[in-house]
Assembly symmetry: C2
Homo-oligomer: 199 residues x 2
Amino acid sequence: MPIYPEPITNLIEEFKKMPGIGPKSAQRLAFHILGITEPEVDSLCGALSKVKKSVKYCSVCYNLTENDPCPICSENSGRNRKMVCVVSEPKDLIAIERTGEYKGLFHVLGGVISPLDGIGPDNLRIKELIRRLKDGVEEVIIALNPTTESETTTFYLTKLIKPLGIKLTRIAYGLPIGSDMDFADEATLSKSLEGRSQL
Amino acid sequence: MPIYPEPITNLIEEFKKMPGIGPKSAQRLAFHILGITEPEVDSLCGALSKVKKSVKYCSVCYNLTENDPCPICSENSGRNRKMVCVVSEPKDLIAIERTGEYKGLFHVLGGVISPLDGIGPDNLRIKELIRRLKDGVEEVIIALNPTTESETTTFYLTKLIKPLGIKLTRIAYGLPIGSDMDFADEATLSKSLEGRSQL
């Protein structure tokens, strides 16, 4: 069975580990790498290492950041510190920020409760959220993708937060059910924020 | 406009330069990188650098190789040195090798004549092919993707090689027209080799 020179095979294997990259795409990417210059490869490798070395989680909201606390949580961000918007992933936070409608803080759970995937409340940053709520937070907005898992998570959060006497809201289901929040347009997301309903 | 931390944005930009990777795929790949361990990133970077540093073109057939001449061209490969199969790209060579039917040598042109893309005979390794034919080559098999550009290239090669008194053949059009040779199954490719016709 003839094969490519070993370094090419290795690179193809590396690419195949990536999400959405099958054998043919991996081969195509490997040939792309063969076709670009060495400084271009160095620039790619630099970007790869940099992202691992310098990007960490904000110790307050668990957003991805180079500086801790992140620019949104830092004291001089001018954000409304009485509101906390709860999202599943950093990309959802970015989606909300893109609307320009929200001026409060965030809290990134790191997923949603999903017993089938073995993700329970203890695997998410829920304890960390509850701890933050003691610092004069007046409203918590839940902004999760409209899925069954998110419903469970919202139910769980409601049980924990309601007794604290904090206003608890959730973004309006302007989003089509089953879609991914990250793909929603700014207008739809803005509507969801506006039409939030008390739980 | 809020954005990701700069290292993530940079990495997304790097991924977007790759063929078939749009903004959403690039973002997905960047988050994949954030989720894997540092040794895994090092292994990916290692594979990227290695491929640029150690893979070169064979000085005889222009296949990709770690050693020059490549394993097929090297003296002790046991290949039939009287036959040369002309292909466009290294991946086409691999496709033919996969059939296990062909025991001769190869010559990789590095493309096909395509005036619309500014690729003329001088941009391909045609001179290098003609030079090789003086070493006792008895048959040249043209194995190009069934496209108009390949027709032009075949016509051009025929004009150059026929006068040398060397047998010139072309793989049978068992391949569906407009498809990519690299995607053909072994049986179809074997049939194409068997049914080659004299030009």
